[in-house]
């Protein structure tokens, strides 16, 4: 996604909000315990964003909602907590009641087109729940404990589900298989869908030894999970890999036109975008290229899927030479432990290789028996990225094989923790 200076300011603000947001059920419970002797004159409001439709409770909605109370937090009149089910709890001093009520009105307005709010009146509301700590302290405490338990359970389930899904063959996953007719509908819907909501960014970070992660660039991508939920909730996109590949080609073009449409948002550097070879030769890409300052291109990484590259090596070489001539860098995406032996970065003339983390990497060997260490070494230092790192063992294993660039949920978490730590130390110094 593109970030103009004004946009960047907005992102900075969001980041600040995220930092100020002591996230999670843990923090909430801890805070409520602390308030045990300070119940008097305090209130809490629970804002149930979880009852909203999925399209209305994405990460940025939660951020916006939390930002409503930003000023009050700054004035030390209250504390805001974002729960993992998207609900928000604001605990505040009674003096701020009117401002909080005003904030709730604003939120109701913001989400007024959501069916959950359309039929919800202020009396007997399900959207909000109010607590008077002096009277309702125990029920708030129970609520917080329950939320923490539920969150823990969910996490265990997700982990177990992840394990099961890893072991299950593709076809057996939930949902009906994607058919050509559904794909046709989906492609049609994509023309109208607001993809801006589904755009995500994730940092690719340099991680050496125990030093904190250093972001190198950010990948901009469409959340396929969100897309699926919005357009075809019961369909298993992975069931038909080739139809899915076709869908990504359509998506690429839509993303490019999205980036192109916002004239005020020139893509600032240090980002990567996903493209198909054919998209690289399209009008949409040339327009994108027009909108980018020449000096920026060197900092933009174009990610191409391995299947797309090997589907037509001639077309790939042409696109590669063109992209290199314009100054872009090229990354081959989707290389897993099994396909790595076929992907020779240097022969392909590609700048970066994105390896998908796989617990089997712990064996340190490729399927052909040669050491992973050698493979990474041949790729070259800082030319291999280990992606989908969901846990520390991925980073440990990657570092053991000489990888220095990492991406994934775990890396994001480390990055956030680091930002908070820095902020903390800054505060202490003050």
């Amino acid at each position: 996604m593109a970030f103009s200076p004004s946009d960047r300011a907005a992102t900075e603000r969001q980041k600040m909000i995220a930092q100020r947001l002591p996230s999670g059920e843990n923090l909430l419970l801890e805070y409520i315990h602390k308030l045990e002797r300070h119940r008097r004159g305090r209130r809490a409001v629970l804002i149930r964003l979880s009852i909203l439709q999925a399209v209305n409770r994405r990460e940025h909605h939660v951020r916006i909602a939390a930002a409503t109370f930003e000023t009050l937090v700054k004035q030390l009149k209250g504390q805001v907590f974002a729960l993992s089910n998207a609900d928000i709890i604001f605990i505040f001093k009674e003096a701020a009641l009117e401002e909080v009520e005003a904030g709730i009105v604003k939120l109701r307005f913001l989400f007024s087109d959501d069916p959950a709010l359309a039929s919800d009146d202020r009396e007997g509301s399900t959207f909000t729940d109010w607590f008077l700590l002096e009277r309702d302290y125990d029920s708030l405490l129970h609520f917080a404990q329950r939320m923490l338990n539920e969150e823990r359970q969910r996490r265990t389930q997700e982990f177990a589900q992840g394990l099961v899904e890893q072991q299950m063959p593709r076809q057996q996953k939930r949902g009906e298989p994607l058919t050509p007719m559904m794909l046709a509908k989906m492609e049609e819907a994509l023309v109208r869908a607001d993809l801006a909501n589904m755009m995500r960014r994730q940092a690719v970070c340099a991680m050496v030894g125990k030093a904190p992660p250093q972001p190198v660039f950010h990948e901009l991508f469409i959340s396929i999970a969100d897309l699926r939920e919005t357009l075809l909730p019961n369909v298993n996109l992975a069931s038909s890999p080739w139809l899915f590949q076709q869908l990504t080609e359509t998506l690429d073009r839509r993303v490019l036109s999205l980036l192109n449409k916002h004239d005020d948002r020139t893509v600032a550097g240090d980002v990567s975008i996903n493209l198909n070879v054919q998209t690289l030769l399209s009008h949409e890409f040339l327009t994108f290229d027009d909108n980018i300052k020449a000096s920026m291109r060197g900092t933009i990484v174009l990610e191409l899927q391995k299947v797309d590259i090997f589907a037509d090596l001639g077309a790939f070489l042409f696109a590669r030479d063109f992209a290199h001539d314009r100054g872009y860098r090229i990354c081959i995406d989707g290389v897993n432990l099994e396909s790595a032996p076929f992907v020779d970065r240097e022969r392909l003339g590609i700048d970066l290789v994105k390896l998908v983390w796989d617990p089997a990497m712990a064996t340190g060997k490729l399927p052909n028996g040669s050491p992973l260490l050698d493979y990474v070494h041949r790729c070259g230092p800082s030319r291999a990225i280990l992606c989908r790192c969901d846990a520390q063992d991925a980073v440990d294993c990657g570092q053991a094989t000489g990888i220095t660039l990492f991406q994934g949920r775990h890396v994001e978490a480390l990055l956030t923790a680091e930002i908070q730590r820095q902020k903390g130390s800054f505060r202490r110094r003050r």
């Binding site: 690289l280 696109a319 020779d344």
Partner: protein, 452 residues
């Protein structure tokens, strides 16, 4: 600059060629210091001059042409002509050099024209060579006019496969008789004794026939991903049809083009069960499929070998050999597609070097459409061949020994070999000979020189 794409139907008859001619005529009196360059992109191979390629070529030239207050024209045949005023020749040369580099994989940029002319582009110093340039422009304009007229007559348009039409095609596939669309082609292996024996018979679905039968107005190969999806269904249909095939003699080895996903299905095991006990299957897989599902590839390779079958990698060419390490496939057979460029040292040597690490009995030269192909392969120590030239050899050998041969031509014998059912086969008076696997006497392949 907004260019209509080559071949796109224009709303009016004003072609880019006409505009070029107008411009060429206009500058007749102010031609000093002007330069025109005609870039012959029409001479590129079709795969290298698709819409995207031409678009990028225009894009590369655009800034320079603008800088020298020039004009650029994209002709209907994909050629590009541009005119610039008082250019710095080095600028233009550099840009042409870059453009040439972009197309460096196409013979147009490296093949020798024989007379010292540059095949890729022609320069006109308009101060001196105006007349020649004008003539070229006139010719282009009149040809364009002719094309326009011809196009007005042929209106039927063929669309590329899209998701919606794929849905329809998949429905229709269930209703047609696939056996009629199945073709076969034998491959031979030359032994050390100088015998050429049939190595396997490859069975495949003729795509042009399939298209005719299913959807004459849709280019089934027009969308790679959707075609891949379609091919999964074709696998099942073909495996089913092969089981009920009536041949007088079964080949010892069936070679089948399949998706990796088909190997682990019931259709495949049913097909295996229908085979005589001493027959085996060689499954030909695409590089694309191996990359898309490498885990599946390893599993399929293992399961096929356990059952005594073979794994072949299909469609390898100069590019795959240059960009990949063949050994990583560890297949039983690697099918390299012959192309005439391999006769040229630069290309042939690169291919030969890439083949060196693989044992010769695991290599097959496919698409051998000439004697030259076989000769080149034999010189590299390759002993397995397939292609139209091999078809002709086998047909000629068959006719030599066939009592009904007096009634047929070689071409008839070749085409009857290629089908497995239907009228063509019925026309043959000796189906026994068609299905037989003769042993021919040929020259022996060269021993490999390990120091290439």
């Amino acid at each position: 600059m907004n260019f209509p794409m080559a071949g796109a139907p224009g709303p009016e008859i004003v072609t880019q060629e006409k505009l070029l001619l107008d411009a060429a005529e206009r500058i007749a009196r102010i031609r000093d210091g002007r330069l025109a360059v005609h870039v012959h992109l029409s001479a590129l191979r079709p795969t290298n001059r698709q819409e995207g390629h031409i678009r990028i070529a225009l894009r590369m030239l655009e800034p320079m042409v603008n800088a020298y207050r020039g004009q650029m024209f994209l002709l209907g045949n994909s050629d590009i002509v541009f005119m610039v005023k008082d250019p710095n020749p080095t600028d233009v040369e550099n840009m042409i050099f870059k453009l040439r580099a972009l197309f460096s994989k196409d013979p147009l940029t490296y093949a020798d024209s024989g007379d010292g002319r540059d095949n890729f582009c022609t320069w006109y110093d308009l101060g001196l060579e105006y007349e020649a340039f004008l003539a070229v422009s006139q010719k282009a304009a009149s040809e364009a006019q002719r094309r326009q007229k011809a196009k007005a007559i042929v209106t039927k348009e063929i669309n590329n496969l899209d998701a919606k039409s794929l849905g329809t095609v998949l429905e229709r596939i269930a209703t047609i008789d696939i056996a009629k669309l199945i073709r076969r082609q034998a491959a031979i292996a030359i032994t050390h004794q100088g015998n050429a024996e049939v190595l396997f018979q490859e069975f495949f679905i003729a795509m042009s026939e399939l298209q005719k039968a299913l959807a004459p107005d849709i280019n089934l190969l027009g969308n790679r991903w959707l075609f891949q999806h379609l091919s999964q269904t074709l696998d099942f249909r073909m495996l089913g049809a092969l089981q009920s095939l009536k041949l007088t003699q079964r080949p010892p080895t069936y070679s089948l083009n399949l998706n990796i996903s088909a190997v682990a299905t019931k259709s495949f095991t049913d097909f295996e069960k229908s085979l005589p006990p001493d027959s085996r299957v060689s499954v030909e897989l695409q590089v694309l499929d191996v990359l898309a599902d490498s885990r599946g590839y390893y599993a399929a390779r293992e399961s096929l070998r356990e059952k005594g079958h073979l794994v072949a990698i299909d469609g390898l060419n100069e590019l795959t050999l240059r960009l990949m390490d063949l050994r990583q496939f560890d297949a039983d057979l690697h099918k390299i597609s012959w192309s005439p460029e391999m006769r040229e040292a630069e290309h042939g040597d690169a291919v030969a070097a890439a083949l060196m690490p693989v044992a010769p009995e695991r290599l097959l030269l496919a698409r051998c459409d000439s004697e030259a192909a076989i000769t080149w392969g034999m010189n590299q120590g390759i002993s397995r061949f397939q292609g139209r030239h091999v078809d002709a050899m086998l047909a000629a050998y068959t006719m030599h020994g066939c009592d009904k041969a007096a009634a047929c031509t070689l071409a008839q014998c070749i085409s009857r070999h290629g089908v497995v059912t239907g009228p063509l086969r019925n026309d043959c008076g000796n189906n026994q000979m068609l299905d037989s696997s003769p042993v021919m006497r040929v020259a022996r392949p060269k021993q490999r020189q390990e120091t290439l």
